[in-house]
């Protein structure tokens, strides 16, 4: 018996394994956790069914089309339209974007089926599998299986082998793993990260499609069932630590076995409805808490959610509030005069708005994404109903409901908060499902499917059975919550959280720790959602366990984030939109699928504008103003600017601040503002103007073939300009040392030279050809190579694989550096710092680049190793490589340099032959005095 459960459990697990592998693969390679993975499986299965039934194609061909052609193509399309943008957006946008897709994609598929009159994909459609139909039973190891099950298992085994071979033994696999390991470094090694992401998405979608097609004879064309399948696969992916495809695969298989054993041997759990169904969810929660503790982010996408600039900051307070006051007045007039039904719709919208305010607290301020908000609302409403039915006074019942929501919020927040980001989101998802499947199934709590009736809330002169009263009451409550949120934002803990959110590393170094404040926020948000849930129940007159399903929480999140989650205004607008939109669709007689598609499609918009519609409006207004303003300024300052071509007038607005970009090990950007004191400013300005003619002149004189040149480079990060007109030239066989104080712009210069940071003005020339527009990987392929600050190795790849990212055959590298040959199968992360630096430079010795840019190559190395590193540079110079050497410690650099350039405040203040550098110049360069 037990053998039978294990064998047939492995077959079940094969589907989880295939789907989970796709999830892990795409997440690890791109940093986007795709909640829509199940939805891709569903639409692939739908296509399989339609190819089979409507087009009459043989099942194997249909499967090939759906999983082998359509799903990868869909993956590519989504990469272009959405995932590519999401990878650079914040976590919130990523989660919401893919959840929007989960809603939109199946709806789109079903709409197409409806509109084009294809065979309906409802509960009566019984899709077949790939094998013979009906499936033929077979005995395997004494277990009765059928052909569909065997095909499923076979396909997953082939997939596993194929994936392994692809990842380990093809250049694509190596590139993908390099991108997973260190995305930025990979682009510097000539790997097109974007193309690699595209491959990852195609592969991931293909796997989702395959799992979808394999599962369809069992699940039917049921989008919900595919979402359930996604949760099981996510459990497998979590046990693979969202990183290891083989572990995910194994975990998927094991999950199938566990499910079978639980179904077979746990009749004692039958009393607790839903508990056994919820086994994958419980495992998901356990896996998150136990396995994913304190992991740094996996891929190198931007993690911080720095708040967008407040574009309305300059607008007077009355002007900021005027539109809201007018809207409020309009709403009140409408409430007083409009027909009852539509006032009811508005009241419903305000109930949602109140619930949505909790997103402002938890997501807008706290930067956490909570998918369980519907569960908190339902929790409060059911508790309130239960308490009232037990004979408690109504007001006490409401208070109890809110407290219950707070308590559950605390319960989730405590273990999950240390985990951060996506893990917290997945944990809240697990909680939402647990609440739906287990807690709300307890009859004593939810009163079965009938739920609890609730009376209207009376105020003596009026009660909430009148929608007008509800509108006024809700507006008052939303006003209170808004004030609460405002005070919170201004409080010390609110500011601490914003700081932690915008720049985690900087906040840690400033001694800010947020867990307590975050728990407080989470609990508060749960309480607000609970209050909203209680009012939902009161205005409906009853509450049942299915009134606020977990899936509603996903749609809510999409709606409110789309409007802008950082302010209460976004929540209010979101609530009204969520209530009015279905009305409009019904009035225009549009399919309900269209609504789902539109709400979901908001996710794609989010990929481009992560801060929502309201912020977008404000930014547009700001841009318009600024354009008008800068035109005026430009007219006034043209004569002054004409002296320095390539310096846009806009850059001058930023004041005398130099900002250096310093990339941390996680690849995230931590901004260190290096404010120059007021006294230094005039000196610097005069130094710059005095010195600037000389480098330009010398560069002009040197201009010739084979030169790598930066001309008048202006670059920075966002609104912050770092480089203000860098001019540099490096010739073959020449070492140029770039020296300067911390924050002068050296690393940014390197990044610009390698194509890692885009320029706002100026040109980058290689052999006289303008390569300014080339992305990093293309420049690397053309021979402009950056050895970045820190170590330029992929710690998760072996020494051999590291070399292969640049060299087709690593043999000669081992001949040059025998110490690496001895450790070829060791992970580069396990090497010593010196060995890592040698590994970084080894490929250059074998296949010398045209230009090598080394950013702080001696940082943190023992003197002996430093000497070895500089010997490498000397050799490269002899072999005709143009070397740009960046060093904070000047001594070693000066020893090999032919020419020297000093950078200060984003400009080259002096450049000339090594021989002309003396102590005075050095002092001047570093201290800014002359």
């Amino acid at each position: 018996m037990i053998l039978g459960y294990v064998v047939s459990g492995l077959v079940t697990g094969a589907v989880f394994a295939v789907m989970g592998s796709g999830l892990t693969l795409s997440y690890a390679a791109t940093g986007v956790f795709n909640f829509a993975h199940g939805a891709i499986g569903f639409v692939s299965a739908l296509l399989f069914y339609q190819c089979n039934v409507a087009a009459g194609l043989p099942s194997w061909l249909s499967a090939l089309l759906a999983a082998g052609v359509f799903a990868p193509a869909l993956g590519y399309l989504l990469h272009r339209a959405m995932f590519g943008g999401l990878a650079r957006a914040g976590e919130t946008a990523q989660i919401v974007g893919t959840i929007g897709l989960t809603i939109a994609l199946p709806a789109l598929g079903l709409l197409v089926v409806d509109v084009s009159g294809l065979p309906p994909a409802d509960a009566t459609s019984l899709p077949r599998g790939i094998g013979p139909h009906p499936a033929v039973p077979l005995d395997v190891l004494g277990v009765r299986l059928d052909t569909d099950q065997l095909i499923t298992f076979g396909a997953s085994a082939v997939t596993a082998a194929g994936l392994w071979a692809f990842m380990r033994h093809t250049p694509y696999g190596l590139r993908m793993r390099a991108c997973v390991d260190r995305r930025r470094l990979a682009t510097l090694r000539g790997i097109d990260a974007d193309a690699t992401s595209a491959v990852a998405w195609m592969l991931g979608s293909g796997l989702a499609g395959l799992a979808g097609v394999l599962a369809v004879p069992v699940l039917g064309l049921d989008a919900t069932a595919y979402t359930v399948l996604l949760f099981a696969s996510a459990t497998a992916a979590v046990f693979g630590r969202l990183r290891s495809v083989p572990w995910t695969f194994a975990a998927g298989l094991a999950l199938g076995v566990v499910q079978n054993l639980v179904a077979g041997y746990t009749d004692f759990l039958e009393e607790i409805t839903g508990l056994r169904t919820a086994v994958p969810v419980i495992l998901l929660f356990a896996g998150l808490v136990l396995l994913n503790r304190s992991r740094e982010r996996v891929a190198g996408s931007a993690a911080e959610d720095a708040p967008p600039p407040d574009h309305l900051a300059g607008v007077p307070v009355w002007r900021r509030r005027l539109p809201w006051a007018l809207s409020l007045a309009a709403l009140l007039v409408f409430t007083a005069t409009g027909p009852e039904y539509y006032v009811g719709v508005a009241a419903h919208g305000l109930v949602l708005a109140l619930i949505f305010c909790s997103f402002v607290v938890v997501t807008g301020i706290g930067g956490m994404v909570n998918l369980a908000q519907a569960a908190f609302a339902a929790m409060a409403a059911l508790t309130c109903g239960w308490a009232f039915a037990s004979g408690l006074p109504f007001v006490v019942a409401i208070a109890l409901g809110v407290l219950a929501a707070c308590a559950v919020g605390m319960l989730v927040a405590l273990p999950a908060l240390r985990l951060g980001g996506r893990v917290l989101t997945l944990a809240t998802l697990a909680l939402a499902l647990l609440a739906d499947q287990v807690l709300f199934q307890v009859d004593a709590f939810s009163n079965g499917t009938i739920g609890w009736p609730l009376p209207a809330l009376g105020f003596g002169f009026a009660d909430t059975s009148d929608p007008r009263v509800r509108v006024v009451l809700l507006l008052a409550l939303i006003g209170l919550v808004a004030m609460l949120i405002r005070n919170l934002e201004r409080s010390a803990s609110g500011r601490a959280i914003l700081a932690v959110r915008s720049a985690p590393a900087a906040a840690v170094t400033s001694g800010l720790s947020a867990p307590r404040a975050k728990i407080m926020l989470f609990v508060l948000a749960s309480g607000i959602a609970g209050l909203g849930g209680a009012l939902f129940a009161i205005s409906k007159g009853s509450i049942t366990a299915t009134d606020l399903p977990a899936a509603a929480g996903f749609v809510w999140l999409a709606v409110v984030v789309l409007q802008g989650v950082r302010r209460v205004g976004g929540a209010v607008l979101g609530g009204l939109v969520a209530a009015v939109f279905p009305e409009l669709l019904a009035a225009w007689d549009v399919s309900a699928h269209v609504g789902a598609i539109l709400f979901g499609a908001g996710g794609m918009i989010l990929a481009r504008h992560p801060d929502g519609v309201l912020a977008q409006l404000a930014e547009q207004r700001h841009r318009r103003r600024r354009r008008a303003g800068s035109r005026a300024t430009a007219a006034a300052t043209v004569p002054a600017d004409a002296a320095r071509p390539g310096t846009p007038s806009g850059a001058r607005d930023d004041g005398p601040e130099a900002v250096a970009e310093d990339r941390g090990p996680a690849g995230g950007a931590v901004r260190v503002r290096d404010r120059v004191g007021g006294a230094g400013t005039p000196v610097a300005a005069s130094a710059a103007s005095a010195a600037s003619p000389s480098p330009v002149a010398s560069v002009e004189a040197d201009a010739g073939e084979g030169v790598f040149r930066l001309e008048g480079i202006v670059a920075g990060y966002g609104d912050v300009t770092v480089l203000r007109g860098i001019d540099l030239a490096v010739r073959p066989g020449e070492v140029v040392a770039l020296l300067g104080a911390n924050g002068a712009g050296k690393s940014t210069t390197c990044a610009v030279a390698a194509g890692d940071v885009p320029v706002t003005a100026g040109r980058v020339l290689l052999d006289g050809a303008d390569v300014t527009a080339w992305p990093a990987h293309r420049r690397a392929r053309a021979g402009v190579v950056l050895a970045p600050e820190g170590r330029g190795v992929f710690p998760g790849l072996t020494v051999e694989e590291n070399l292969r990212t640049w060299l087709p055959d690593p043999g000669p590298a081992y001949e040059r550096m025998p110490q690496l040959a001895a450790r070829r199968t060791v992970l580069a992360g396990a090497l010593s710092g010196g060995e890592q630096q040698l590994l970084t430079l080894a490929p250059a010795l074998v296949r010398p680049p045209r230009v090598l840019i080394a950013d702080e190559p001696s940082l943190g190395l023992a003197p002996l190793v430093v000497r070895q590193v500089f010997e490498v540079f000397a050799e490269l110079r002899r072999r005709g490589v143009a070397l740009l050497l960046v060093e904070e410690k000047a001594t070693e650099a000066l020893a090999v340099a032919d020419r020297v350039a000093f950078v200060r405040l984003g400009r080259v203040v002096w450049s000339g032959p090594r021989s002309e550098v003396d102590a005075d110049r050095l002092t001047a360069a570093y201290l800014g005095v002359s």
Binding site: T224, Q259, N260, S542
Partner: protein, 408 residues
């Protein structure tokens, strides 16, 4: 933001556009020549479950009534049905829309497993007719299930027709064992209780009740469930397996797995009476021999009421496949019309409600008989059996009513 104002303006625009009906003081939805009704159905849902055919059934019945001159000189103005998407909150919104905006007199047909508008309709005193599968119908004044309340409370009457019809069909229940399979949700478990009781009341021996099946999606692997069934009756298989799981995919999966494991006994459920399943060879093979238990007279019956139903549907929507949901919509509309006729020309909601709840009784071969207010709290106790033989449904037992027993 101005956007809020825009939303308000849209609302106001909608409101202005819809202001037209409702002119005139009298009973909402009733004029001298018309009675306006509309329904709420689960037309679409994420799980693919759909009751949309009930709209066709109701329309067919109303069109016959209108062709015959209406009821007391009033034509039935049928607005069609709203879709609740199997979402309780949407169902509530749909009920409010029909009552407040469209100003219907009553809701016909309401056929949505998660219908959320019950509290509102009860509070407004608006009558609603349909299939009372959930407890939200039961104990109300205004909810009229076409075959009574199918979710009685403990102590109220619970049906025995399924077990007794089965016993008659199998030539007695003595010594025969029955196994009831439900899924892991409180609704399905409740169904397991009432149906087990129906079979034990008829004399069957209960071999087991299992509620282990996951509720949201069919299990990828049926082996553990099939193993339990095959050993439930003292180590061997039971004589009868009753499936109380909604969804064709569930039943087809369970039956196919049972047959693969060598089960030769009787399979029965309430939802497999659907010719659409027969179009698929695997579905037809899995369901072959299954005894389905519809709560209306089967379409294969020779009763004149069924011939009339077929004629009505053929007239309204030629070529429509006859389904369970269609029959439910049809009979719900039929009861509404009968109640409307018995209320008389002077029509208000209060008078209509008084008729319905004042010892109302109506017999029809199509659904047996219905008695209100009694059937607000218990099912009407009637049902039929059909058997799938060689790819076609045949009437195994015609519609018959039995006494209910108190639910334990």
């Amino acid at each position: 933001m101005p956007a809020v104002a825009l939303v308000v303006a849209l609302l106001a625009g909608c409101a202005a556009q819809q202001k037209a009906p409702g002119a005139g003081g009298g009973t909402p939805g009733v004029t001298d020549t018309t009675v306006r009704v509309g329904g709420v159905l689960t037309k679409t849902s994420a799980s693919g479950y759909s009751t949309k055919d009930a709209e066709i059934g109701a329309r067919a019945r109303f069109e016959r009534a209108n062709a015959a001159g209406g009821v007391h000189g009033r034509r039935i103005e049928f607005l069609g049905a709203e879709d609740d998407g199997q979402d309780a909150a949407k169902g509530d919104a749909a009920a409010k829309k029909l009552v407040q905006k469209d100003e219907v007199f009553a809701l016909v047909p309401v056929h949505a497993p998660n219908f959320g508008g019950a509290a509102f309709l009860e509070q407004q005193g608006v009558l609603w007719f349909g299939w009372a599968t959930g407890p939200q119908w039961c104990g109300t004044r205004t909810g009229f299930g076409y075959n009574g309340c199918l979710a009685p409370k403990k102590g109220a009457g619970s049906q025995t027709w399924w077990g007794r019809q089965m016993a008659e069909l199998l030539g007695g229940a003595t010594g025969k064992s029955v196994y009831v399979q439900t899924s892991d949700s409180s609704g399905s478990k409740y169904g397991g209780t009432t149906i087990s009781q129906s079979f034990t009341a008829a004399g069957f021996e209960l071999a087991g009740v299992n509620s282990g099946l996951p509720a949201a999606a069919p299990p990828p692997d049926w082996l553990p469930y099939v193993n339990k069934i095959m050993t439930s009756d003292g180590g061997g298989p039971p004589d009868v397996v009753v499936s109380v799981i909604a969804g064709t995919k569930f039943n087809v999966g369970l039956y196919a797995a049972l047959k693969r494991a060598g089960y030769r006994g009787v399979l029965t459920d309430a939802t497999s009476y659907d010719t659409a399943i027969l179009a698929d060879p695997a579905g037809a093979e899995a369901l072959e021999g299954v005894i389905a238990a519809p709560m209306f007279e089967p379409f294969e019956s020779t009763a004149p009421e069924i011939a009339q139903l077929k004629a009505d549907v053929a007239k309204t929507a030629p070529g429509t496949r006859l389904t369970q949901h269609l029959a439910i919509g049809y009979w719900a509309a039929d009861i509404f019309l009968d109640m409307l006729t018995k209320t008389g020309r002077d029509l208000t909601r209060e008078r209509f409600l008084a008729t319905g709840n004042g010892s109302y009784s109506y017999e029809n071969a199509g659904f047996g008989r219905i008695r209100y207010p009694r059937d607000h709290s218990e099912p009407n106790g009637c049902g039929a059996l059909v058997k799938l033989e060689k790819g076609a449904f045949t009437v195994a037992k015609s519609m018959k009513c039995f006494e209910n027993v108190p639910l334990r």
